[in-house]
């Protein structure tokens, strides 16, 4: 009995000691503003998301060099949701309620974003989402710094139609929400432009599809109808490498059937020998090869931070740069990291895009971006062959789908609604 008592006493003392010790440490440290980083560092999506985690660490480091924010240092809290969608929600909850972060930068796939939405709404925090996505969404607590369909897909199709004279379209995608919604919008858009239904071929493949022989030869057959044909690819992640390898092997050259991709950037090309792919296209809002002083400065500092002279940069990284700068400005303007104050302050703020033009946070929580079309070069980089003259404002609800045509998002008073129906003049228009 007595031994057990003393053991318990020792334990309690040790516990008390450790608590006071840790309290002491946190007092000794200066107060910091915490920033959550919610990107998968393991599992399928680690391939894309790890770089974004590094980007956030880099941005926070840069900001601290400039003296931090509101006189405090920024501190990154990195968690690993391991490409597991429900875990994203759990980790988001942990970041907000346990670590009490001021804002979270994270997510890549649409399904991970959808999984964390309720958490951000419930706990009233802020998420910056850096990836191009399918649109049809605007949430009070989320800022979409990647491209909406009208900032990527539609301009790319216009380019092919006007510059390359394409009349027949293959819409190939991975089977999940982003390609399906994007292709739905594109199909409607093409039909509106007078493309006949038999000139559109839609094809979906599973994640990590590796045997592309049949589909590529189908594309070849579809392209031999005497009309100029192009492939619009929303194929995601891992499946791209075998797809492009098969294209090259079956001898589909970009001069004959160009492929324009929405999910293939510099990072993805790092895994392929691009020699046979020269001339295929990608549509983004940022390319590493774009020559502006801001971009040059960013690339140089990024390479120095990461310690690799050959490290590439890509579009979602730029989205984080823009999102982070806007958040910093908003906090400075509001004088606090309080969610409601920042949500109000951030709308209308501006920061330069790395590719030229000004990114402005719009009332629908999307930003303005230039749209660039690039051709793949043999060094794995893109060469810009076309760009919009002005920046394009992101449109949350597509104007080309009958069910979302009349819906607008506006988070400023008096509307303050993510899905305002302009016909019925009421909030909650998404049926």
């Amino acid at each position: 009995m007595s031994t057990r008592f003393t053991r318990r006493a020792v334990l309690a003392a040790a516990l008390a000691g450790s608590v006071s010790l840790s309290a002491g440490i946190s007092y000794a440290q200066e107060e910091t503003i915490k920033v959550g980083v919610l990107h998968s560092l393991s599992g399928t999506m680690a391939i894309s998301e790890t770089t974004l985690k590094d980007t956030m660490l880099f941005l926070i480091d840069e900001q601290n060099k400039k003296g931090g924010l509101l006189g405090k240092k920024l501190e990154a809290v990195v968690v690993d949701p391991a490409s597991d969608w429900p875990l994203f929600a759990e980790k988001a909850r942990e970041l907000i309620s346990v670590d009490e972060v001021a804002a979270v930068f994270g997510c890549w796939t649409s399904v991970s974003r959808k999984s964390v939405l309720p958490v951000f709404e419930e706990l009233n925090s802020i998420l910056f989402y850096p990836v191009q996505y399918e649109g049809e969404e605007s949430q009070r607590n989320v800022f979409y710094t990647g491209a909406a369909p009208n900032q990527q897909a539609i301009p790319a199709v216009d380019y092919l139609m006007n510059e390359e004279g394409v009349e027949r379209w293959v819409l190939a995608g991975t089977d999940y929400v982003y390609p399906r919604t994007t292709n739905k919008i594109l199909e409607q858009y093409l039909m509106d432009k007078g493309v006949a239904a038999e000139d559109i071929m839609i094809n979906y493949t599973p994640f990590s599809h590796s045997d592309w022989q049949t589909i590529v030869s189908d594309i070849k057959a579809f392209g031999s109808a005497g009309k100029k044909t192009a492939v619009v690819s929303t194929i995601n992640g891992d499946a791209n490498v075998p797809f492009y390898k098969e294209l090259a092997n079956q001898g589909i050259a970009a001069e004959d059937i160009p492929v324009v991709a929405f999910s293939v950037g510099e990072e993805e090309l790092a895994g392929i020998d691009t020699e046979p792919l020269v001339g295929h296209l990608a549509a983004w809002n940022y390319f590493q090869s774009v020559d502006t002083p801001e971009n040059e400065d960013f690339i140089a500092k990024w390479r120095e931070f990461i310690g690799d002279e050959d490290r590439v940069t890509n579009d979602p990284m730029e989205a984080h740069v823009v999102g982070f700068n806007l958040w910093v400005q908003a906090v400075e303007k509001a004088g606090t990291t309080d969610t409601d104050a920042v949500l109000d302050a951030i709308i209308g703020l501006e920061t330069p895009n790395l590719t030229g033009g000004i990114a402005k946070m719009l009332p629908n929580h999307h930003i303005t971006k230039p749209v660039l079309i690039g051709e793949i070069q043999d060094d794995g980089q893109f060469e810009v062959v076309w760009e919009t003259e002005e920046v394009v404002p992101g449109d949350a609800w597509s104007d080309f789908l009958p069910e979302s045509k009349m819906i607008e998002a506006d988070w400023t008073a008096p509307i303050s609604c993510g899905n305002y129906n302009t016909e019925t003049k009421s909030c909650g228009g998404a049926s």
Binding site: L41, S42, G43, T44, A46, I47, T50, I154, P155, D158, N162, E163, E164, N203, Y204, T205, P206, S208, H209, S210, D211, Q213, T214, S217, K220, G223, S224, A225, G226, K227, D238, V241, P242, K245, E246, A248, N249, Q250, G251, A254, E255, D256, P258, A270, G271, I272, D273, P276, V278, G279, S289, D291, E375, V384, V385, W386, E387, T388, E389, V392
Partner: protein
């Protein structure tokens, strides 16, 4: 926003600002010098000879926008200078650069970290230069098409038949009415039957686009219809809508004929694709047929061992790229034994370290090996990074060739051959060597084998090592068609188990037949059901099949049966 996109010219011109400014930081002074030089060169050419003219055009190549460059390409082609073909070829390949120090247009080939330079026109050696001292002359798809057509016209009279053949082919692909006259001249002088045929086809392809007489057009249509491939089909369908009414039936007949022919080949093509997919499944599953089939170990880390094989290939190629670039075509031959060794050792370590403690406890084995698979993935991710790694195809594994109506890609062909060779060797090892004999003995009756003096633990380790080594060799082959990323293994593990279970646990022949059947079935379903549904159908089919025959296609007695 629809009305805002600029029209063709504008887009091309606007974008041009970007490439020429790519290196602004380091380029300002040389830019000036170059402009001066070009201006000087232009000054000279106005009063000097023809050869100078070509050089001036070459010097004008880097200037202006894509449309200016396109004009220069046509002007170059129009000079008819024989050196221009080589120059345009280099331009189309993206091998033309401007040397920054003197603004000279040079052709550069990568040699190690630097570029070996030659004069763009004369081919005179100019030493080497680092990439920072060169500015690339950019081309886009439109320019590449212009280059292709220009080269076609330039080389049509070349003394070498293969060059003429290529020229005729590019004229056929472009079917530009301007080249009709040239083609007629070339055709009259042509002696090589193969080249002559290609030229005639190219001529026919052009004639149906022009406003030639009905009879001439009908003859052209018949010629194209006789060619009977997809290209001809594309040309005929393209001509159909704009053709004169009396030609419509001729074209329709031609199209129907080609389509009949193609439909027949489509079936065979599907069988080929099926065999190719089957061979990939066979490769992925054959190692598992040993570890799971023969030994009865549920090895969830099998896919990761395949991945280790692929990463070994990457490492080998990396060493070759930096130290022995000449050996690149042999990289796979070097990687094969190395991958076998590396993965066999890893396999033996796994067996000795983990699996031998868990024999007879399938659930624990499953969990332990699954944990191991995560461990291996994350280790590779830490060492090599989460991104895809580039594994190149040696030249003998790139491209495709046509066999009658079939288009066969080299890498798939070699993978089928490789899978069958691996299968045959494995069969021979199991049936013809002492190790194989001992393995079968231990599998069939462990205690009896043990009492005959066979060291069963040693045989277990060797068997697991063999299975893992073969999985590693599969990784070398898969690196040629798939991503080399830490997730490589995950995409094959389910397929591998499916094949082994379907074929019959413990039977190599079952694995072969199972893999090929599933491959062919998948490829025949895919055109009708789509890739997603085809996979689901196959899975449902296997579930039903296992209900009927729980032991798979070829049931065999083995340790798994005894357990």
């Amino acid at each position: 926003m629809r009305g805002r996109w600029p029209a063709g010219q504008k887009g091309a011109r606007k974008s041009e600002n970007i490439p020429s400014a790519v290196d602004t930081k380091t380029m300002h002074p040389t830019c000036l010098i170059r402009t001066l030089l070009v201006a000087l060169a232009l000054l000279f050419t106005t009063s000097s000879a023809f050869a100078q003219d070509v050089e001036a055009l070459v010097n004008a190549l880097p200037e202006g926008g894509y449309s200016d460059r396109e004009k220069v390409i046509f002007d170059l082609a129009a000079t008819g200078d024989e050196r221009v073909a080589g120059l345009l070829d280099a331009l189309g390949e993206g091998d033309l650069y401007v040397r920054e120090e003197d603004g000279r247009v040079v052709a550069g080939k990568r040699a190690g970290r630097d570029y070996a330079l030659t004069d763009a026109l004369t081919g005179e050696e100019l030493g080497t230069a680092p990439s920072s001292a060169l500015e690339k002359i950019r081309v886009n798809n439109r320019l590449r098409r212009a280059v292709r057509s220009a080269i076609g016209q330039l080389t049509l009279m070349s003394p070498s038949p293969p060059v003429r053949l290529r020229a005729a082919r590019s004229l056929l692909r472009n079917a530009d009415p301007d080249s009709l006259e040239l083609l007629g001249t070339a055709l009259a002088a042509e002696t090589d039957p193969q080249v002559k045929k290609m030229m005639e086809t190219a001529r026919a392809a052009i004639i149906i686009k022009t406003d030639a007489g009905i009879e001439e057009k009908a003859a052209a249509i018949d010629l194209l219809a006789a060619r009977g491939d997809r290209e001809a089909l594309a040309m005929l369908t393209g001509a159909h809508s704009s053709a004169a009414p009396e030609l419509q039936p001729v074209i329709e007949r031609g199209i129907a004929g080609i389509e009949r022919k193609l439909a027949m080949w489509d079936g065979l093509q599907n069988v080929w694709y099926g065999l190719s997919l089957g061979s990939v499944l066979l490769l992925a599953a054959i190692g598992l047929a040993i570890t799971f089939g023969v030994m009865g170990v549920i090895n969830m880390a099998h896919g990761e061992i395949v991945m280790l094989g692929a990463y070994t290939t990457f490492a080998v190629q990396q060493v070759i790229r930096t130290s022995f670039p000449g050996l690149f075509d042999y990289s796979l031959a070097i990687a094969l034994p190395l991958a076998f060794l590396v993965t066999a050792l890893v396999g033996i370590a796994i067996e000795r370290g983990i699996i031998r403690w868990l024999y007879g406890r399938p659930l624990e084995t499953l969990l332990a090996t699954w944990g191991l698979s995560l461990f291996l993935q994350q280790t590779v991710r830490t060492i090599f990074g989460p991104n895809n790694r580039e594994v190149g195809n040696p030249s003998w594994m790139s491209g495709a060739f046509d066999l009658a109506g079939l288009s066969i890609t080299w890498n798939r062909l070699w993978i089928i051959v490789f899978a069958l060779v691996v299968f045959a060797v494995l069969l021979a090892v199991l049936n013809r060597t002492p190790l194989g004999l001992q393995m079968r003995a231990v599998t069939q009756n462990r205690r009896m084998a043990s009492s005959m003096g066979i060291r069963t633990p040693w045989v277990d380790a060797m068997t697991f090592g063999l299975g893992s080594g073969i999985a590693g060799m599969a990784g070398v082959a898969l690196s040629q068609i798939d991503n080399v990323s830490p997730n490589l293994g995950q995409s094959y593990i389910i397929d591998s188990f499916m094949v082994v279970v379907f074929g019959g646990v413990g039977n190599l022949w079952g694995t072969l037949v199972g893999a090929l059947t599933l491959g062919v079935a998948n490829k025949f379903l895919e055109p009708y059901a789509g890739a997603v549904l085809a996979k689901i159908f196959i899975l449902v089919f296997i579930i039903l099949f296992i209900q009927r025959r729980p032991r798979g296609l070829f049931a065999l007695k083995g340790r798994a049966v005894d357990a």
